[in-house]
């Protein structure tokens, strides 16, 4: 005679192992992220766009068989006509489909390719970094409270039950069950709602400083700024934008492109259009100062200004550039000069990095980019991150 027992515990036995697993995934994401920040595909995406990050390091490796000629599988086709040589799976169409894992007999599929939105990515990237001097503006400490609908949760109060999402989940599950033959629509068996189908609307109260910020992206677009340099600049500016956007409620961006003369331009022109001609670094800086004067009073705006160039300038402009930069530094929360010289290239004449060197203070940094792998470490350096270059 057997014994029957109702299992009556709330203990969730795998909770701690799941937490540990999650920590591992997060760590893997953080480690993997730095490799992907300079990928062209994510540059210029909007915040809601999902990107996929392959997560390394949580696979469990064992000795398994590969798929050579000698390695064959066996299947049954009871009640079906089959022929030798018949194609049963099309290699082109067949994209890795998750198969149940068996004790180490076959190579497992890459299970974790985590999908993140750019916002989430920003969170992982930027949580360790800080904007310098956020309190400088006196009203910056005032927090705005904003109630926002934010996604769905599996737990919640009845009143917030989302019938639509719940039903969607059930239908989704039903479709899959039919596809996988775990439920037969002909059987007359009811396909019931499931606790995990339930979705509740979620609201979130957000506190954000009501301060506004503006970033000036200033770039030399003269003939010497080739495609690769622009890509590096774009990667870097993209990170800056995401980061500052992550910290502020409202953010303006001003693109200033210059050769010997400066112009305010839109984003496309900023990155795409090439010009020819010489370079006056000061022109871009002066233009920015002019715009600040007109539209962004330093007393109520947090100002950020970053200048990217290939380090070349016409010698007679150097002093002027230095003076203009000093003016910017005085009113900006953070300013930076990013010298983009692809590894192996040379700068003719005196490097601007050296010209600006004496101005370096807490809120002015000079950075150098040589290849895309430099983007993250340099960015991190700008905001005092813990990332060290190995």
């Amino acid at each position: 005679m057997s014994i029957f027992k109702k299992h009556n515990t709330n203990a969730d036995r795998s909770a701690s192992d799941r937490r540990r697993h999650k920590e591992k995934i997060e760590k893997a994401i953080k480690e993997g992220i730095h490799d992907i920040v300079a990928e062209e595909s994510i540059i210029g995406q909007s915040g809601k766009k999902k990107i996929k990050i392959p997560v390394r390091g949580i696979k469990e490796y064992q000795f398994v068989f590969g798929r050579n000629q000698g390695s064959k599988g066996v299947g049954s086709a009871q009640g079906q006509d089959i022929k030798k040589g018949q194609k049963i799976k099309d290699g082109q169409k067949q994209k890795a489909k998750g198969q149940g894992k068996k004790a180490g007999n076959e190579k497992g599929e890459e299970f974790y390719e985590v999908e993140l939105t750019l916002d989430e990515l920003a969170k992982y990237l930027f949580d360790d970094l800080n904007l310098p001097d956020l309190e400088k503006k006196s009203d910056a400490s005032v927090l705005a409270e904003k109630i926002k609908r934010k996604g769905y949760r599996t737990k919640g109060i009845r009143a917030r039950l989302s019938k639509k999402e719940t039903l969607k989940n059930k239908i989704r599950r039903q479709k899959q069950a039919i596809k996988n033959k775990t439920w037969d629509p002909e059987s007359g068996e009811r396909f019931t709602f499931h606790e995990d189908d339930l979705k509740y609307k979620h609201i979130e109260i957000k506190h954000k400083p009501i301060t506004n910020a503006v970033i000036f992206f200033i770039m030399d677009v003269s003939g010497s700024m080739g495609k690769q340099k622009k890509f590096l600049a774009r990667s870097f500016f993209f990170l800056l934008y995401q980061f500052i956007r992550y910290r502020y409620e409202k953010i303006d961006i001003v693109f200033v492109a210059h050769t010997t003369e400066a112009k305010e331009v839109n984003e496309d022109d900023f990155f795409q259009r090439g010009s020819s001609g010489g370079t006056f670094i000061s022109s871009g800086l002066d233009k920015s100062l002019e715009i600040i004067n007109e539209r962004y009073n330093p007393n109520s705006w947090n100002l950020y200004a970053f200048h990217g160039s290939d380090g070349e300038n016409w010698a007679e402009d150097n002093e002027k550039a230095k003076t203009a930069m000093q003016k910017l530094i005085d009113i900006c929360q953070l300013a930076g000069y990013i010298q983009i010289v692809p590894d192996g290239d040379k700068v003719y004449g005196k490097e601007m990095a050296d010209v600006f060197q004496p101005l370096i203070t807490d809120n002015f940094k000079v950075l150098k980019l040589g290849k895309k792998e430099d983007v993250w470490p340099q960015f991190s350096k700008l905001f005092g991150g813990k990332y060290d270059l190995k």
């Binding site: 014994i3 029957f4 036995r13 064959k72 086709a77 030798k84 599950r173 009811r190």
Partner: protein
């Protein structure tokens, strides 16, 4: 009646009594069964730990939970109706959500499993009396190591990562492994005999080296590496013993499921079920033992084998096979050309471009090829066999892969070798064959 979930434990008991009586009359001999009734969430939790009521912690079990939970919730995978472990008493889990007729079927099925655990020769050494408490104690000890500030979570976890990578690279067969000192003794005896015949040999050559290739890498590490900390030796033994415990289940998946299905089918026929129960029961039974097109369903194949045995040799033979055979032996001995044709098994092969083609069908010329491929894909044969060939003078380890026509997945092998390096703390080389060339990892 079919969608009635309102049953009490007393109802279950009532049917259990009937099932047990019928099973006893048939001569089944099983461990007492403790049924635990749980919800689907707890079921997934138990599955993550292979049904062991207590098991040591490791992140991989959290991963396993998430995986099952994800696939279950997205409808891609159902949960097994039954989960029963090889212990005395056997512990089986019944899901609360199951309909009543399904619970009855499961209980009859579990009796079959428990009988198999108790009687099949492969399970003789699994110590089913103590396995639950052994695992509980192992969990406690490992928890102790994690909390010990001199060891800590990271060390334990990393060490388990290394061990899990080779957890199945251990003793495969019931032939006991010769320990280091046993081998040494027999070698000395051999030397002595040769000496008596007047052949002088250098006895010092026998010291500190591997005299015979060792297929049980975990035991090998334990014996031949000298500077283990106590906690490390304990972990190696825990992981190895767990593999030994599960090995018989890997080897008898088809017969075990077949036997359980064979018996739930027989018992349920004897129960004289009313139409209300009988129809959904038969439907469920057919779903369980249906062939999986393109794959091998162990329930189906095992059920087929036992039905054939009963038809051709009688019930007595079935009992004999459940006692003495494993899957590979049963396939070899009891499935002939006609069966292969009936089951319509075929071999398939992945091509370079990713297409999968049928390479052989079970016709007169090729059915033996299909059978040998089936055997290669059965039980322990699904795990590549790697053995320690020798220890080099400088201390490096040389591993070899017993190549049987199937190449290793090289990228995986490289990672596993790294894990073995972590354990051996010295050079580790692995030799295998890749696309007909000798390959060193």
């Amino acid at each position: 009646m079919t969608s009635n979930n309102n049953y009490s434990i007393d109802d279950l008991k009532k049917w259990d009594d009937k099932i047990c009586k019928i099973a006893k009359d048939f001569g089944l001999d099983w461990y007492p069964i403790n049924y635990e009734i749980c919800d689907y969430y707890e079921m997934i939790g138990h599955m993550a730990y292979h049904g062991m009521p207590s098991h040591y912690n490791h992140w991989s079990y959290g991963k396993s939970f998430e995986r099952t939970h994800f696939f279950y919730n997205s409808g891609q995978q159902g949960l097994p109706y039954e989960l029963i472990i090889n212990s005395d008493p056997s512990i089986a889990y019944l899901m609360l959500q199951n309909e009543f007729y399904l619970q009855v079927l499961i209980m009859a099925h579990c009796v079959g499993h428990s009988d198999f655990f108790k009687n099949n020769r492969c399970f003789k050494e699994t110590d089913s009396k103590n396995v639950v408490s052994k695992m509980r104690n192992a969990k406690k000890r490992i928890q102790g190591y994690i909390e010990n500030p001199l060891i800590g979570q990271d060390r334990v976890e990393n060490f388990l990562d290394d061990l899990h990578a080779i957890r199945f690279q251990t003793q495969r067969y019931n032939i006991p492994r010769k320990t280091k000192s046993e081998i040494l003794q027999s070698e000395i005896q051999r030397y002595n005999k040769l000496k008596d015949q007047g052949i002088e040999l250098d006895y010092s050559k026998l010291e500190g080296t591997l005299l015979k290739p060792d297929h049980d890498i975990l035991s090998f590490l334990l014996e031949y590496k000298s500077n283990w900390k106590t906690w490390q030796m304990d972990l190696i033994e825990i992981v190895r013993d767990e593999s030994w415990y599960f090995m018989p289940q890997i080897k008898t998946k088809i017969l075990n499921e077949g036997w359980a299905s064979f018996w739930h089918y027989k018992i349920l026929h004897e129960l004289n079920l009313s139409e209300d129960y009988h129809v959904p029961f038969m439907k469920m039974h057919n779903a369980v033992v249906r062939p999986h097109i393109g794959g091998v369903n162990p329930y189906h194949l095992g059920f087929y084998i036992f039905q054939k045995l009963e038809r051709e040799y009688g019930l007595e033979k079935c009992f004999e096979v459940r006692e003495t055979h494993d899957d590979v032996a049963a396939i070899r001995l009891f499935l002939d050309e006609e069966d292969f044709r009936e089951l319509n098994f075929f071999s398939h092969q992945k091509q370079k471009n990713g297409d999968v083609l049928i390479s052989e069908v079970a016709d007169h010329d090729d059915w033996k090829v299909v059978r040998s491929d089936l055997i290669k894909n059965t039980g322990i044969n699904t795990i590549p066999q790697i053995y320690v060939d020798r220890i080099e003078k400088q201390g490096g380890l040389v591993l070899k892969h017993e190549h049987d026509g199937r190449d290793l997945e090289i990228q995986y092998a490289e990672h596993v070798v790294k894990h073995i390096k972590n354990l051996w703390q010295d050079e580790v080389k692995l030799y295998t064959i890749l696309e007909d060339e000798i390959w060193e990892v």
